[in-house]
Symmetry: C2
DNA sequence: CGGGATCCGAAAGGATACTG
DNA sequence: CAGTATCCTTTCGGATCCCG
């Protein structure tokens, strides 16, 4: 019957952290190596500069990514995962595997085709 | 150097789905068995009824949970994970493991104690 | 290039009251 | 018990301009 204890606060923080809008995508990109601001922006076209900057700062505050300034002209700024960030790899792989199996790539193209939830009613148990 | 291809849309959908506010916690609760509306609500005190109802409907539309109505008086409604929902278990376990290692349980209690990000500047590379 | 500052409309979310 | 409806506040996020 599974009576519920409260959700583990650590888990809750974690899932709300990596699940926050765009952070998943950003981390995913940094998982194949360090990248520059515009490089990340180019990989996520729907994401505005402002949002990207905001999310990068948040992730930096969480110590998931590290920011490195290289004072050339023009300046170059690189982002990369910290140890904490790299440790997320296993979790992200697990999510990716689930997505491959269960999530259709496109959005809902055949709206009529979907069987429209059947109300499951049980006489008794 | 890791030049970026776009983020896999399946992965992106998945992470934004399970990462949406509260959905992680709700799924987590259902992972130890089916539960009723008020039971879930009790396990997540910060979550309002309206939000819970909304998230449950969304998860039902995604076929991650199933809703069963048992017409007693008063009515009883039970929620449980579908196969798609149960398949999330591995991913959630991976996240939980990461959280145990890297996320402190409480929020930031010692605000001054935090060393306040060091600006990493590299002379050159 | 890599952002920060500001403005503003849209959307999410909380509080409360009510219903079958 | 399991929600809906309504209102109202807060936040999110896009657009635009600016700076070192």
């Amino acid at each position: 019957m599974a009576d519920q204890q409260n959700v583990c606060p650590r888990f809750h923080r974690a899932v709300e952290l990596i699940g926050k809008r765009w952070t998943g995508a950003i981390i995913r990109i940094l998982q194949n190596g360090r990248a520059r601001f515009n490089s990340i922006a180019a990989a996520i076209p729907e994401l505005s500069d402002r949002m990207l900057a905001e999310r990068l700062r948040e992730l930096e505050n969480e110590r998931i990514i590290a920011r490195t300034v290289i004072p050339e002209t023009p300046v170059r700024v690189e982002y990369e995962l910290t140890e904490k960030g790299k440790a997320l790899d296993a979790a992200f792989c697990a999510i990716a595997r689930w997505a491959e199996t269960w999530v259709e790539p496109a959005s809902e193209p055949t709206k009529e085709a979907a069987p429209a939830l059947s109300e499951t009613v049980v006489a008794d148990r």
